[in-house]
């Protein structure tokens, strides 16, 4: 089965080709060349995607060595995301599905992330349910993945996402962009015991997160610490990073305790953080809990994960018709 995946939920436009669950090629177009509009500002919603999607699909098919006629199904993100952006991807997928007379399946963007670890050909899927810690700029979630299309949200951030805490912390410390890597670099030589930042939610008997208070604690430390008593930027960065990672580890361990599941995927851009990986790897070894990560390029938004989640749904006999809606506030778990 050759699945063409399409993802246009936010500002990136992406396509991927998967054959029997194995990735052949994928493309993510973040931004077109500056003069792509010939100096004319687009006036209609989502024109950004409209201009990029044909390019993304054509490039992907070329790289995969696949003809349009070789596609046997389409998988498309139908939410959550920006309405106008989703509409472009869904309309494109419907048109292609009709033209080729092949099935179409709608995928939740979050669901894509949950399967991203298994885009690595060296990682066999877990057997049975597993936990997924999804940590990115936009999301901090812990999911229980039961089967294709069957997911329970065990916990989520009640305010800022972990990646946002990294990014805004870096901004407060004037460390540059992107904030996550900048903060990690600044923290490398720092002493993480110098500043005692809070660990919101730690020790509670649920799996939710909160990072907005941590950001505020940094803000007030920078504003109020006496100049002669203030820690170095490296020490502040190290202490702040340690607080974020402590929170992630504490909540994940809480999820393991509460769910009884002992296999874990970690997805999203923050999974690249070295301190988090060290802590996860040593915990994994100590507790004998396997932990898997997606290849780096699939930690951020992409269509390969959408194609893979769609493939699992198709294998389970699911597909959508031409009435597939776009749902900007779609939720896998009905929790908003």
């Amino acid at each position: 089965m050759t699945v063409l995946g399409i993802e246009t939920s936010c500002d990136d436009t992406a396509a991927a080709v998967l054959v029997d669950g194995h990735l052949q090629a994928h493309t993510v177009i973040t931004q077109l060349d500056h003069d792509a509009y010939g100096g004319i500002v687009p006036e209609v919603a989502a024109r950004l995607h409209e201009r990029k999607i044909v390019t993304a699909v054509r490039q992907t098919l070329d790289r995969a060595g696949c003809e349009l006629s070789g596609i046997s199904a389409l998988a498309v993100t139908y939410g959550p995301g920006l309405a106008g952006a989703l509409a472009v991807g869904v309309a494109f997928a419907k048109g292609l599905s009709q033209a080729l007379s092949v099935p179409l399946v709608g995928v939740d963007h979050m669901e894509g992330h949950l399967w991203a670890s298994f885009l690595d050909p060296l990682q066999a899927p877990f057997s049975g349910p597993f936990l997924c810690l999804l940590v990115s700029g936009g999301h901090t979630h812990i999911w229980r993945v039961n089967a294709a299309g069957d997911y329970d949200l065990l916990g989520r951030s009640r305010d800022d996402a972990a990646g946002e805490a990294f990014d805004k912390g870096a901004r407060l410390l004037d460390l540059g962009y992107p904030g996550g890597p900048a903060l990690q670099a600044a923290a490398a030589d720092g002493n993480d015991q110098k500043v005692r930042f809070p660990r919101p939610m730690a020790g509670t008997e649920h799996c939710d997160f909160s990072f907005s208070g941590l950001k505020t604690a940094l803000l007030y430390y920078l504003r109020d610490a006496a100049p002669d008593a203030r820690a170095t930027d490296a020490d502040i960065a190290a202490s702040y990073q340690a607080a974020i990672v402590d929170c992630l580890m504490d909540r994940l361990q809480s999820a393991v305790r509460l769910s009884g599941l002992r296999q874990v995927c970690v997805a999203g851009g923050v999974s690249a953080n070295l301190l988090l990986r060290q802590r996860l790897d040593s915990w994994s070894g100590r507790e004998q809990i396997p932990v898997r990560y997606p290849p780096q390029e699939f930690c951020t938004d992409n269509a390969a994960m959408i194609a893979l989640a769609g493939y699992h749904r198709l294998q389970a006999g699911q597909s959508a018709g031409m009435e597939l809606p776009i749902v900007p506030n779609l939720s896998l778990a009905g929790r908003g």
């Binding site: 936010c10 006036e43 989502a46 800022d160 996402a161 805004k168 803000l219």
Partner: protein
Amino acid sequence: MWQDARTDSPAATRQAGAQLAAELPPGAVVALHGGLGSGKTTFVQGMAAGLGLEEEITSPTFALIHEYGRPARLFHIDCYREPSLDRWVGLGLSEYFATDAIAVVEWPEAIAALLPPETVHLQFELGATPDERLIRRAR
């Protein structure tokens, strides 16, 4: 009538947001000005509660726009990570200001040119203590 507020806790900031939301006409646009950690997202949580929405309101910084209610009754927009006006136009931002839903925008400076003239502008500032916030109507 909503008045400038000095709040002493996140709960009080939410309360101020709920009060404002209850007074807004359909389709109102609200622009929240103020630095990191000044209470903007907390205020929006209150606005959602004031509109009777039960969903949890989280920061839209990376997603750019979150919408709540079906059909949408609140758009929570954040221009922090995307300062290009052209990109916002291309993503269809103006359409979010042309419905009966309330639209609230954090970091609105980049898209000032797209805001309707009757937009309600609020300025957020840190107070003397870590929990105190000043919220006043600007312009």
